[in-house]
Amino acid sequence: MYSLEAKNLSKWRDHYCVFTDVSFSLNSGESLWIRGDNGAGKTSLIRILAGLSKANDGELLWNNESFLADNSSYQGALHYLSHQQTLIPHLTVLESIQLLFPMLGAKAASDISLSLNDVGLAGFEQHKVQNLSAGQKQRLSLLRLLLRNKPLWILDEPQSHLDREGQAWLFDTIERHISNKGMVIIISHAKDLPLTHVKSLDL
């Protein structure tokens, strides 16, 4: 069982306040949906949670222990997917999985064709990433989530570029992760998230 708690987080950029007094708590088997208008500071918040940025004020507790941005037990437990697709254009799909993803915290896949089948990219092994469509790139970068099992997923608009089928697959995967006692923090512009046990946080 894990728990993540944020108390009164605030972020400033010079004299401009990005957000103040953000608090939430999240336990295993729950997900947090971060909503808000453009520029409300969703990405800033999520980057603080991923340990890439520091809050100016407030506290973050992982398993009831406070951590600084470089706490290794917390860092080792999370998987952060940014809104960028985090792919190198002139590698092939296969090379991305074998070489790039291990650099980005995923294990080398044991059965590549099976995992590619999972995200609907079977048969594209030798295609270069730059030749894939935006949706296919998104599927490929989501594959990283499956390659190493980490309890906390932090996802910045994961369903962008995905078609209906892709979205269904994505939310199925998230749902499965949550029911396996995982935790998910997700930014989404969707009107409605097809997830159970979802808390929402409005910025």
Binding site: A50, L52, Q84, L104, G105
Partner: protein, 222 residues
């Protein structure tokens, strides 16, 4: 754990190098072009060429490296790979340092292979080959590591010129010592002291720059 990480890094860098659609040739082409332009700017008589040669070789070499330095972090910064690498690495400092060294080797080897060509174009004796090779390797490492640090510091700036303007004033000592190596070895004098000086500078830069790189990245990723 770290070892396997580094092994993956080497493989990844090599794959990117071999897939870069000839991009590794651009610095080499620039190197030759600068020498050609310098030469057509004067009357190419042997003694005049020999007088200019040390400066021309060094300036052409460093300018070509600038071209390669521009891609040191920028591409990975823009597509988000850099932050993920730092986030998930066991030892980000070492990872960055290894990447700097790998890229340095991949960039200077093609340039050094052109050195005999440059020497003969400038009508210098081939005896200067070995000393200048050593000096160029050591001097370029100082330049390269400082350049990587400064480009990490200027990641958020989209204009590629800023890093060059910060870096080039710092190249003054390298060019002074380095071109002296070429000049003295052409006259048959001993240059080991000068080469050692450049090696010393590269050790100094190796001990300082990883911290600057790391700080620069943290700052620009915030």
């Amino acid at each position: 754990m770290l070892l396997s990480e580094l092994k993956t890094l080497y493989k990844l860098e090599w794959r990117q190098f071999s897939r870069s659609q000839g991009q590794w040739l651009f610095p080499v082409m620039l190197f030759i072009l600068v020498i050609v332009l310098f030469t057509v700017g004067i009357d190419p008589e042997a003694h005049r060429l020999q007088q200019m040669a040390p400066a021309v070789i060094w300036c052409a070499f460093l300018l070509s490296l600038l071209l390669a330095l521009d891609h040191m972090w920028r591409d990975d910064y823009q597509n988000g790979v850099l932050e993920q690498m730092l986030l998930h690495s066991e030892s980000p400092l070492q990872l960055l340092l290894h990447r700097v060294v790998v890229r340095w080797v991949l960039s200077i080897v093609p340039l050094l292979l052109c050195l005999p060509l440059a020497i003969s174009m400038l009508q210098m004796p081939m005896t200067i080959f070995m000393p200048s090779l050593l000096a160029l390797a050591a001097g370029s490492f100082v330049f390269w590591s400082l350049g990587s640090a400064l480009s990490a510091l200027t990641l958020n700036d989209r204009r590629p010129a800023l890093m060059s303007l910060l870096l080039l004033p710092m190249a003054v000592p390298i060019v002074i010592f380095g071109s002296r190596v070429i000049k003295q070895s052409a006259m048959g004098e001993s240059v080991s002291g000068l080469v050692l000086m450049l090696v010393g500078l590269s050790i100094l830069s190796l001990s300082i720059t990883p911290w600057i790189m790391f700080a620069g990245m943290r700052l620009n990723l915030d």
